[in-house]
């Protein structure tokens, strides 16, 4: 109890300084807080006092939740509705979490959410992983307009993180001008895809790090010819049956095993809506450069450089983890977090990350939107319940780094990650300072920091990474605590290109959301696109079928949608 009081006090003090600059933010603020006072008997709190306030009476929050069917971190006797995180919420905020339903990650969860929306009976809160679910629920009038309550109840940290996106996150979570969801906000680097390569294999063959597309081709061939991954060595891993050759405007990040950097190096941005600079837009997939890149990939496939099972594997990670392959593409966390088994199977697997350059030595990268999952709140939720959900989010952002992660933090109810857009870059730079002794871990002990995991990482980094620090290889890392190893490997190796190498051309999509016509026609067009692209790569269709695809795509709604997207440009 004493400890709680102390915590509250610190929070209150910190909160004060921040409310000073935020209170005259919007007129809504005043109106909303007077509303809330009518509902509860608490004295008028503002800022972080309010954002972390404890309810006088228990508030029941019903949720639907995604779970990991294989997770074994819950202690004996605990359950999805009763675990360290729910007890934390109960003790600190008097929030009672009641889990109405759970479903496994992936299709099962999607299906459950669909049924929930179809029945019109949403739980108070759930996190959906597809914007179209959010908009469907919103257009059916099933969602709570949280505009005012969010303004009033967001913690200063959440506010800063939202601000770090220049309003993109808010727009993303809004439907017809009303905020209807808490958006997740992920680091920008999630959308920047790089080349992951086995440096130890390169060294074995005395090869330089490949820079361009033709370098990669030579390297992949060398890996195969020398059977570095055993008899069935795969040159370049590719997408599985559930993932894609490139990320798109709707799913603009985290495309492990795609070919995004290859497209970028060919100045092609399939899946993105490109601003032509003259008031028109074009869809990246339909461009000449995309066609050229597809021809190249088809050639690679034919030469046996790309995984023969591309497009049908259950899992992108299989050949990577089995150390059958030495090359794949993906964002910063793909090495470390993404391929843990690879290190377990071969501790010398020295995966390194590099940009892929165009022939004129440019690094082109497409950039992601702010986030793609949404905490939606039922229209029928009581105001106190909505407030409780805001508080749950605030608490997660502030306290996630202090939780005992021996119980997977995925069990935190309605967990929807909010991170500052440049968190990883910040951590990379600061952790390097810690390693070099320029700063001390205690320098980062700031409870309300925007960079919420920094302090915890700073304390660990010297245990995991051993000198010398100027050229980090897998041999520098200790895998004693595997979770820590994965995180720090991803940051220090995986994010190095994005932090230290300037991108020559950053490409944003004109929109990252669906236009009205897309709601009915996009699924069909997308299917056609996916089929054409994969078939061309696999050699099941000739590259000439690309032109027919472009024609069909345009006539079956593509032109209409292109016009709608061009309209967005005018705004």
């Amino acid at each position: 109890m004493k400890r709680n009081m102390a915590a509250l006090l610190t929070v209150a003090l910190l909160g004060l300084s921040l409310t000073a600059c935020s209170s005259n933010d919007s007129p809504n603020n005043v109106k909303a807080s007077s509303n809330s006072n009518a509902n509860s008997d608490t004295p008028a709190l503002t800022g972080d006092d309010l954002a972390f306030s404890k309810f006088p009476k228990p508030v029941d929050v019903h949720i639907g939740m995604v779970v990991d069917p294989t997770d074994k971190t819950l202690p004996e006797g605990d359950s999805v509705g009763n675990n360290p995180y729910t007890r934390y919420l109960k003790d600190k905020y008097n929030i009672n979490v009641i889990v109405d339903w759970t479903a496994a990650t992936g299709n099962d969860f999607k299906q459950k959410v669909s049924l929930t929306i179809a029945s019109g009976k949403l739980p108070d809160g759930m996190v959906v992983d597809d914007r179209s679910f959010m908009t469907k629920a919103a257009s059916s009038g099933l969602l709570y307009d949280i505009t005012d309550i969010f303004q009033q109840y967001q913690s200063s940290q959440v506010k800063d993180i939202m601000a770090s996106t220049d309003g993109r996150a808010l727009e993303n979570a809004s439907y017809k001008g009303k905020m209807v969801a808490l958006p997740n906000i992920t680091v920008d680097t999630d959308g920047v895809h790089v080349l992951w390569i086995r440096k130890d294999w390169l060294d074995k063959l005395k090869l330089p790090v490949p820079k361009t597309v033709s370098d990669i081709e030579k390297t992949a061939k060398a890996f195969i010819d020398n059977k570095l991954g055993g008899a069935n060595t795969i040159g370049i891993a590719g997408p599985s049956k559930n993932s894609f050759p490139y990320s798109t405007f709707l799913v603009s990040s985290n495309n492990m095993g795609g070919f995004d950097p290859i497209f970028g190096a060919m100045d092609a941005y399939p899946g993105y809506w490109l601003d032509n600079g003259d008031g028109t837009v074009s869809y990246g997939t339909t461009t000449e450069n995309t066609k050229k890149t597809l021809a190249l990939l088809a050639d690679w496939y034919k030469k046996g450089l790309i995984d023969p099972e591309v497009g049908t594997r259950d899992n992108v990670g299989d050949p990577i983890n089995a150390n059958q392959t030495g090359i794949f593409f993906g964002p910063w966390w793909n090495g470390g977090y993404g391929n843990g088994d690879s290190f377990k199977n071969d501790p010398t697997a020295n995966w390194q990350a590099y940009p892929v350059y165009s022939d004129d030595n440019k690094w082109n990268a497409h950039m992601k939107t702010t986030g793609s999952t949404y905490t939606v709140i039922s229209k029928n939720a009581k105001p106190d319940v909505v407030k409780a959900i805001m508080i749950m989010n605030n608490a997660l952002v502030r306290d996630e780094s202090t939780f005992d992660l021996s119980v997977n933090v995925g069990w935190y109810p309605l967990r929807n990650v909010m991170a500052a857009a440049n968190e990883t870059e910040y951590e990379y730079a600061e952790l390097l300072k810690v390693l070099k002794g320029e700063t001390q871990p205690e320098d980062y002990n700031k409870p309300n920091s925007l960079y919420k995991l920094m302090y915890a990482d700073a304390k660990k980094v010297k245990d995991v990474i051993k000198p010398p620090y100027d050229d980090l290889n897998v041999s520098n890392f200790s895998t004693a605590n595997f979770g820590d190893f994965q995180r720090l490997y991803s940051i220090m190796i995986g994010d190095r290109p994005f932090t230290t190498v300037p991108i020559d051309k950053k490409v944003y999509s004109v929109t990252y959301n669906q236009t009205p016509t897309m709601e009915t026609k996009w699924a069909n067009l997308k299917k056609m696109e996916d089929e054409t692209v994969m078939k061309i790569i696999l050699g099941q269709a000739s590259i000439d079928s690309f032109d027919q695809f472009v024609k069909d795509w345009k006539s079956q709604g593509g032109d209409e949608i292109t016009k709608e997207v061009a309209e967005l440009l005018k705004k």
């Binding site: 929306i117 179809a118 629920a137 023969p308 049908t312 259950d314 069909n524 994969m534 079956q556």
Partner: protein, 296 residues
């Protein structure tokens, strides 16, 4: 008088089942209304906007609808034909076996796959036809390059039909084996005395005895031409083979539970029901007329 008394009991006996049908089959049928609405979950079934036949019109405009209807027909008809033909041949071959213990063993083993679910079978099929699966190992021995069977839209239908026939042939043969046991042995003896060889025996004695069964089964399976097997396809397909492998049932599933197009999904489902109903009705008449068989 007594008969009327019996009628009362007949109603009583039917009652639990009818109550179930009303509760679990007829009540949900009101959902068919969705097919004529732009269903809005917030407003519910009775307050959503009515759109007449728009969903059906839209459905037939979609390229997908043509694709899935064609796929469904091809896969379902392929299954019907081969699920008649293969078990028939198998039953005849089995009937020719002399060693009764071997016969018994074969019979017992071939029924086995029928009892395993597609959830289980699909993991096995994907394993066997995978890039490093047994099929590719065999192909490799003959010097051919391995193939990606599960991603090849050109052979996905054959794969679906083939694995289904493989899973069911033993079980489907039961009915033919039953018919074969009904053949009078004297017929064989008489024919053999006339100097008929084995092939002639099969052709003139065995096959004619099976004709009725084959015709009847063929007619009765007419109602299945839109049932291409949801469980099987759902567990085996991937986006690469949608062009040939996507069927009505899986399409309806994705429309409803992944794309949230509730009304369109219901319209597509209703379309399937109506066609099936007509076909069943036809097969009922045909079976009655040509085989003198009352189905129900």
């Amino acid at each position: 008088m007594r008969k009327l008394g019996h009628q009362k009991h007949y109603y009583l006996m039917l009652m639990p089942g009818m109550v179930w049908l009303v509760m679990f089959s007829i009540v949900p049928m009101f959902g068919i209304l969705m097919a004529f609405q732009n269903y809005n979950p917030g407003s519910g079934l009775f307050k959503s906007e009515w759109v007449g036949m728009d969903n059906f019109k839209y459905m037939f405009q979609l390229n997908d609808s043509k694709t899935v209807i064609v796929n469904t027909f091809i896969i379902a008809i392929g299954k019907i034909v081969f699920n008649l033909f293969v078990p028939l041949v198998f039953a005849i071959l089995l009937n020719e076996l002399r060693n009764l213990r071997y016969k018994k063993l074969v019979q017992t083993v071939v029924y086995l796959p029928h009892f395993l679910s597609w959830v289980i079978m699909s993991t096995i099929v994907i394993g066997i036809f995978g890039y490093y699966g047994v099929v590719n190992t065999v192909i490799g021995m003959f010097g051919h390059d391995p193939k990606l069977f599960m991603a090849d839209a050109g052979i996905f239908r054959q794969l679906i039909i083939g694995t289904d026939v493989w899973k069911e042939f033993g079980y489907n043969a039961i009915i033919f084996l039953a018919a074969l046991t009904g053949i009078n042995l004297n017929l064989y003896e008489a024919a053999a005395i006339d100097g008929a060889n084995r092939w002639q025996l099969i052709r003139h004695v065995t096959l004619p005895a099976l004709t009725t069964t084959v015709v009847l089964l063929g007619v009765l399976s007419l109602g299945n031409v839109l049932n291409a097997g949801f469980d099987q396809v759902y567990n085996l397909y991937n986006p690469l083979v949608y062009s040939t492998g996507d069927i009505l049932d899986t399409w309806v599933y994705r429309l409803g539970l992944q794309n949230l197009q509730f009304s369109l999904a219901t319209a597509a489902g209703l379309f399937k029901s109506v066609i099936s109903f007509v076909l069943i009705f036809i097969s009922y008449r045909l079976a009655y007329r040509y085989a003198d068989y009352t189905v129900f």
